[in-house]
Subunit: 261 residues, 2 copies
Amino acid sequence: MLEAPKSDGTVGKALQVLDQVAEFRRPVRFSELLENSPFPKPTLYRFVQTLTNQGMLSFDPDRQTYAMGVRLVRLAHSAWRYSSLARVARPYIEALAAKVGEAVHLAQLDNGHVLFVDRCKATDQFETLAQAGKIAPGYCTGVGKVILAFMPQIEQNRALDQQAYKAYTPSTLTNRAALLTELAQIKADGVAYDREEHEQGIISIACPILTGQGRVVGAVSIASSTNRYTIDDLEKQRPNLLKSANLIGSEAELWQVPTWS
Amino acid sequence: MLEAPKSDGTVGKALQVLDQVAEFRRPVRFSELLENSPFPKPTLYRFVQTLTNQGMLSFDPDRQTYAMGVRLVRLAHSAWRYSSLARVARPYIEALAAKVGEAVHLAQLDNGHVLFVDRCKATDQFETLAQAGKIAPGYCTGVGKVILAFMPQIEQNRALDQQAYKAYTPSTLTNRAALLTELAQIKADGVAYDREEHEQGIISIACPILTGQGRVVGAVSIASSTNRYTIDDLEKQRPNLLKSANLIGSEAELWQVPTWS
DNA sequence: AAGTTAGTTTCAAATAATGAAACTTAGTTT
DNA sequence: AAACTAAGTTTCATTATTTGAAACTAACTT
């Protein structure tokens, strides 16, 4: 859960404050922010003011609390629509979810965290919005491990340093060395398994989404519960999963159109 | 479509660059940004670098283009979940949509723009995610006008200055004076109508969501097509609409829990 | 190979950010 | 109600960061 890789000037610091507010997961008072802040009172105060002016935070005058601002919703709309894989991938992950009858997740990596950008559950197609934008650790999820495995060395290193290696379950890999071994194996095999490493009873098979040049841009996974599925059952879905990931990869390739607006 | 009310130091300028990238609605090259930028080359260059470092933009090295970064999706998740009305309002707007059998929109105001934070269409409950975060003009939509009508004077003034007053249809109110008259009438009446002012064939009835102290925090609308509905038909839904808005308002009131995490 | 454009770096000058301290306001206690 | 306390806000001299003209390099085009 550590942050702040390098403080990119004033802008970086301000964004750090934004993250801090986001972490609270509820409206927060100035004094609460101040307690956990590396910045002195007036500095933090001005950041919060600026961010509020800019609509990145919103201030509730009745309760004197700050929360994430609606401008973010607008900006993220662009991000989701024109930058994330979600848009291109949507039809494919829907098809996959329908075929397999289990939940399908689409993830990208955001500063060491796995960011779920979309998900389709065969049964209820709802709560997509509530799910998109959720984060999970990289080192103990199928999608996370597979993205890490296929990353370029340098970036991988940086990402591995950022993992918390907290033991969510008895199966969680809790140190860098163990994870590194697993990542090599995953890269050789082409898919990653989550054997209840993040949540008891939840298993998944994940594979990377690669561009033509072999860059990882995200991952897709089929997730299920140990009540219904075993790792072997998931393994049987490997061809379906790979096919979908390939299709998404090549579509993403074509997709970024040339300059003529 | 004008921006930049006051340039909040370096942070404000950087966020201005973010907006600029968002407006392109596609991956964009540095030189394209430079053309429409108020900043000189090295300055813009550093902003883009910083924002990319910070994950607010993402850079595609293959194509040398910038797009909105995934970090925004994560931050917006918090915004949507803990700051927007969407979460509290969801059950109520779903119920309303089911009852009325027409599309129900939930909006908040973001710097003069109407920001749709959620929507339920009685038939297909899908594409919510694609809709959330969309923006529309304030002066020619039901939700927009009703929010403007119930705003405090000072803020209203600022917002009215920011409207574009472009004639989307023959019914659009195209100047401040006409809008102001209408707003007074709306405030007295309690609801706003969109009589095909934004889109030909689309009408709606909108009412404000108010806190106990009488602050507007958003608006709900029932929208329909002139093929199926008349303004009179919408008027008949007024009690349903008001009831839902009241429920959302009082729930939003209660909702921001005290400090004990 | 010469020419052109896009992208990147340099560095002194200009500007904006910083934070200790003082101040104001709101809430609590005597 | 006065005295006390804590939360939020402003001031201002100091410090550090941002700024942008110009120079440079890399990547295409002729």
